[in-house]
Amino acid sequence: MTSMSKPQIRIEKLNVQYEGHHVLKDITVDIPEKRITAIIGPSGCGKTTLLKTLNRLIELMDGVKVSGRVLVDGTNIFDSGVDVTDMRKRIGFIAQTPNPLPMSIYDNITYGPKIHGAKDRRELDQIVGHCLRAAGLWDEVNSRLREPASKLSAGQQQRLCLARALAVKPEVLLCDEPTSALDPISARHIEEQLLTLKKDYTIVFVTHILRQAKRLADYVVFLYLGELVEHGPAEEVLATPREPRTKAYLKGEIS
């Protein structure tokens, strides 16, 4: 590990198989705390699978086999004693396409806190205000919190999803190509929020846009066909890659 930060997530010998395909092969890497880590690589290389393994969302798919360890703050999330719902509360997730819940803007944000036991009206109001501000959405929606989330634009919905993820006070935010379904202006909004949020959160995001990785990432993990090819501080990996496959990818020879 470099001197930049202590690791918050330690991935050890992680293997994922899906219906006979070996999707992730022996991945071992540390994700630094309170930094933005970008997982890059061509499509189908296992980026999303790796991300979804970090909060065990991958288990929602039938026929997935996972082996290896993912240590978050020293605890293996695959340990039998780990409460999945509690672990997922600590590790937030933002999907590729905005996926607001079929309820009001307000209820979308309080959904998480409520299932984890928050009841007090004033506390919930506060969470809603705080999270919407942190996601840069407050000014646009504060007068219509009771309206259905389905009424928002795609860009607003994605920021709502960010706010909703923040509402359960996670330590880590996993983002799966969070801007790929958005127009450039909304994408810009999301990127700016992520840069602001990294002082409080460990952010891991998947992207296939190299320029986005350059703009956002402190640390880069490059996957190719399920293998971890190279990882390190962003400026090193993106400017002076050591591995030939990384070089080829960065030059656009493989995609």
Partner: protein, 282 residues
């Protein structure tokens, strides 16, 4: 070129004609029933039970059948809902593609196509076995059996349409399966669930065969679950079977009332669905 255009126009013409036949038959049924029943339609039809000599064309109305039908179909729909929703959710979120799920779905398909007289006969056998007489309860049981497959299948289909990304969103926040199922999936599917309920209610309220032996027929409004209950479809049946033109006219009037109830259910389901659609994520 010309041949293709003729083809195009011809097929389009066939489609328009087919559509007209469908819409036309609905209108024809409505118009005939309303026209033939109109002379007998009166306020007393709706507000009174049959009085002395009613079946000979004298005083009274069919309040017994209206109330009976609402009790029968309402009761059956309530019970069917309580069982169908958990079944559909279970099939979808828990049993998934297991053998149990496919067996249940297969059974529902079969039950769906069982003629309602069979439910009536089954209900009757059950009642004889239990020593019950024709009653509101018996009718409700037979109609519930009729409604199960209709409602469960309709719900199953609507739940199937819920996008997986919504489930993912809920799980990612640390929700349990139960929380996800009831707070997200059932909510997203709520317009379809309402449709399923009203579809089953509509089928039940119009069904004659399943209540024939089970609910019986009476001139009174049932005062307990064990009293026999009249129903609109059977009112039509019995009135049409009399040799008196005035009473046959009342059969059409009863039919018109039944039609109006079914149509209002359909309109209500549209309005309700629209209301629930507001929250739904597309």
């Amino acid at each position: 070129m010309d041949k293709r255009r003729i083809e195009e126009n011809f097929v389009k013409g066939v489609m328009i004609a087919s559509t007209m036949i469908v819409v036309g038959s609905l209108l024809a049924v409505l118009i005939v029933v309303l026209l033939k029943g109109a002379p007998a339609l009166s306020l007393s039809m709706l507000t009174q039970t049959p009085k002395g000599g009613y079946y000979l064309g004298k005083e009274g109305g069919i309040l017994n059948a209206i109330v009976g039908s609402l009790y029968l179909a309402g009761g059956a729909t309530a019970i069917a809902f309580v069982v169908s929703l958990p079944t559909a959710l279970y099939l979808h979120e828990y049993a998934k593609r297991s053998k149990l799920a496919s067996f249940t779905r297969q059974s529902l398909d079969i039950l769906w196509s069982v003629p309602s007289i069979i439910y009536g006969a089954f209900g009757y056998t059950l009642m004889v076995y239990l020593g019950m007489r024709a009653s509101l309860l018996g009718g409700i049981i037979a109609l519930t059996l009729l409604e199960f497959p209709i409602m469960t299948k309709a719900m199953d289909e609507t739940i199937r349409m819920v996008p997986p990304r919504l489930k993912e969103a809920s799980y990612a926040l640390g929700a349990t399966k139960l929380e996800t199922t009831f707070n997200v999936i059932a909510r997203q599917a709520s317009p379809g669930i309402v449709m399923a309920i009203l579809l089953a209610l509509g089928r039940a309220i119009g069904d004659a065969a399943s209540v024939l032996f089970t609910a019986g027929y009476t001139d009174n409004i049932p005062r307990s679950l064990l009293d026999p209950a009249a129903s609109l479809p059977l009112a039509v049946f019995f009135q049409l079977a009399t040799p008196f033109p005035e009473v046959q006219q009342r059969a059409y009037a009863s039919g018109a009332i039944l039609l109006v109830i079914v149509l209002s259910l359909s309109v209500a389901s549209r309005l309700l669905t629209r209301r629930f659609m507001r929250q739904v994520i597309r």
